[in-house]
């Protein structure tokens, strides 16, 4: 016991001296060198500690699968804020694994019944007023989804952080407080983001901020998670806020009202015919 405390204190002292190296630029002001980050190791969930250090792989894997399950049914609200108007849409979402999702609008009344079906990389829209299903042309993947700041591609992409990006821990972020992880696109990956940064909460459980940098390394958009609550046994941020960088007065909020994980969602839910018949 005695040895342990002394060890820790020695470590801390070393960190203290190391930290005296002044921050050289704005980024660094947010970062505390890795070594010193260990100071907050104690805050980490034990599941994320490996060999006395932060187990980054575990953290990333957890965050990636945070909202996922074998199947789920949730209630969400999409709020698109534009300089001249704000629009609020309530949706019910069924998912199965990573590949299938059905999103149906419940309000406002005018849009009620409009649905988006995603199966693997394909997307369809069902339009109740005209009782037609339209397939989103593959070339439209980069177009905005529902007029929001999310693209069709954002929804469809089975975000595989680990496949397309190499990530590493940069350090400790001060604003917000948390672990700063940088994801850099692997050389041959096709995508809009050259790199992006993720700040994960001290306990490694909650993503706080993601900053996306375009291919020119300019900050292009920022996503923030907030309002952590319990959803069916999990602690999750209820609100995701996406803010594009150069479009003034514009942002999109996606808020989970309710989530039921691992409920019974039959395969047949995710079919076009079901889509059309039901409504």
């Amino acid at each position: 016991m005695k040895v342990r405390i002394i060890d820790t204190m020695v470590v801390i002292l070393c960190m203290a001296t190391a930290v005296l190296g002044a921050p050289t630029d704005a980024n660094d002001a947010n970062n505390v060198p890795i070594a010193d980050a260990n100071k907050v190791l104690s805050k980490l969930d034990t599941g994320f500690i490996k060999d006395g250090k932060l187990d980054l792989d575990a953290v990333i894997e957890y965050v990636e699968d945070m909202y996922r399950s074998k199947s789920s049914i949730s209630q969400m609200t999409l709020i698109v804020t534009k300089p001249r108007q704000t629009r609020e849409v309530a949706m019910k979402v069924w998912t199965r694994g990573k590949e299938k999702a059905l999103i149906v609008i419940e309000s406002p009344a005018r849009e009620k019944g409009t649905a988006t079906l995603k199966v693997k990389k394909n997307m369809w829209n069902y339009l109740p007023r005209i009782k037609r299903t339209i397939r989103i042309p593959p070339s439209m993947m980069l177009a905005s989804w529902m007029g929001s700041d999310f693209t069709n591609d954002d929804l469809v992409r089975e975000a595989s952080y680990r496949e397309d990006y190499t990530y590493k821990l940069i350090g400790w972020s001060k604003d917000p407080n948390g672990w700063l992880v940088s994801f850099n696109a692997k050389p041959d990956v096709v995508g809009l983001w050259k790199r992006w940064e993720l700040v994960v909460s001290a306990n490694g459980r909650i993503p706080l901020v993601a900053r996306y940098y375009d291919r020119k390394n300019r900050l292009s958009r920022t996503m923030r998670w907030s309002e952590v609550r319990e959803f069916d046994g999990r602690q999750l941020p209820a609100k995701m806020e996406m803010v594009p960088e150069d479009k003034k007065g514009q942002k999109t909020d996606l808020v989970y009202e309710e989530i039921d994980f691992d409920v019974d969602v039959p395969e047949s839910t995710f079919s076009l015919s079901r889509l059309e018949r039901k409504r």
């Binding site: 698109v80 534009k82 001249r84 108007q85 629009r87 849409v89 406002p108 005018r110 849009e111 409009t114 829209n125 339009l127 007023r129 005209i130 037609r132 299903t133 339209i134 397939r135 989103i136 042309p137 070339s139 439209m140 905005s144 529902m146 007029g147």
Partner: protein, 411 residues
């Protein structure tokens, strides 16, 4: 003394009818050619101006500020009905039409294609200078017209029920079903390429923008006054903050085209002028020289050389005036005759009349040329010809005046 010279000059006229007639004819032809060339060049330039300020662009356009750059659906001109009414109240405004442009997906079947919804006030646009000019049947509610290229690309057919899906002005998903009434060939190429044309009301309903529009196209009956009109409209209280531009500022690159054809026109007229003047000079010089022995006789009879020169000058002036008068008359007759039907360039081209309107950069140049003249044309012709006539006559006359009568008679 002057009068007598003039009388002699006048009498000379009558005496040598053939020679005089020839000279007058040469001048008349010259002036006519000049005026014809002027008329045609002006007509051609007019056509280009008409094409530019044609259906797509008009003379003045009104937009919400920044709409042209951003093309955002929700950057609209509000209260369209009242504003269009206000614009039409201006005396020089011939027509004002509101338009809606919105990118959308066009789905004849399940597969969707990228297209553009164009909302038009069909009544106004089916007049001569509208986008729907020449359309015989009005566009019914719930029906659309498809640009022929889009139809070809997607296999759309008349009578087919199609879905149009896009983003409404309030951000929601705009969607509705329409029946294809017809496949059209529009003067504006962009509509042919990707246009789904519907009535303005239908478009306003589809895109949740009641009584709003993206663009108001204004046509005036004084086409040279576009800039002034746009100034006046800008002051209108309903258009505070909107962007009001004359066509010169909307398509500066096409203004270059106009300038260039103006210059080519001038060039042609100059050449015609030189040719005409050369012919006139040649004729007059020849004519005067041929009369050498006549002058010799006059000299022998005691005329002063100066009087001979003066006589020739009077003759030249008379010839010139008569010729110019005749030529001007012919010129105006030509313009008057062709101004009703225009000169049909298509049939001249010998392609059997199937020729499509020429498209240049998405505009269509009409194929009929309506020659047009301005007073300055006649006056310039008059000045040039008079100058030439005088020079053409005086020089040989001066030579004649210096001759010994015997030499002159022997010539």
């Amino acid at each position: 003394m002057q009068t007598t010279t003039l009388q002699i000059a006048w009498r000379n006229f009558g005496r040598n009818t053939k020679r005089t007639a020839l000279a007058i004819l040469a001048i008349a032809v010259g002036q006519f050619a000049l005026l014809a060339a002027d008329g045609l060049m002006r007509g051609y330039a007019d056509n280009i101006r008409l094409a530019i300020t044609g259906p797509m662009i008009g003379h003045v356009q009104v937009h919400a500020a920044e709409w042209r750059q951003e093309r955002a659906i929700d950057l609209v001109i509000e209260d369209t009905e009242r504003i269009v009414g206000q614009i039409q109240a201006d005396p020089s405004v011939m027509s004002a039409a509101a338009r809606i442009y919105a990118p959308a997906l066009f789905a004849p079947e399940q597969d969707a294609f990228v297209a553009m919804v164009v909302g038009l006030q069909c009544e106004i646009e089916s007049h001569e200078w509208g986008l729907l000019s020449g359309m015989s049947e009005p566009l019914e509610k719930g029906k659309v017209l498809i640009g022929y290229r889009l139809a070809r690309k997607t296999g759309a057919k008349v009578g087919q029920e199609i879905a149009v899906v896009g983003q409404a002005a309030d951000g929601s998903l705009a969607n509705d079903l329409y029946v294809i009434q017809d496949i059209i060939k529009c003067p504006a190429d962009i509509v042919n390429q990707s246009g789904v044309v519907m009535s303005l009301d239908d478009a306003q309903q589809l895109l949740y923008m009641p009584n709003a529009a993206h663009e108001i196209v204004v046509r005036t009956n004084q086409s040279g006054q576009a800039k002034q009109l746009s100034e006046r409209l800008r002051q209108m209280e309903g258009l505070n903050g909107a962007e009001v531009l004359p066509w010169q500022e909307l398509v500066p690159e096409l203004v270059v085209l106009l300038d260039m054809s103006d210059w080519v026109g001038y060039f042609v007229v100059v050449i015609v002028c030189i040719a005409a003047l050369a012919g006139i000079a040649n004729t007059l010089i020849m004519s005067t020289f041929e009369r050498m022995h006549e002058f010799g006789m006059l000299l022998a009879l005691g005329s002063r050389p100066r009087r001979i020169v003066r006589m020739i000058v009077y003759e030249a002036i008379l010839t010139g005036l008569l010729g110019v008068a005749g030529g001007t008359l012919l010129g105006y007759v030509f313009v008057w005759v062709t101004s009703s039907t225009g000169i049909d360039m298509a049939s001249w081209g010998g392609s059997g009349g199937e020729v499509a309107d020429m498209a240049y950069k998405g505009l269509n140049l009409p194929l009929h040329i309506y020659p047009r003249l301005e007073i300055s044309d006649t006056l310039l012709g008059l000045a040039a010809i008079m100058a030439t006539s005088l020079v053409g006559s005086v020089w040989p006359a001066w030579i004649a005046g210096r001759l010994e009568p015997m030499e002159a008679m022997r010539a």
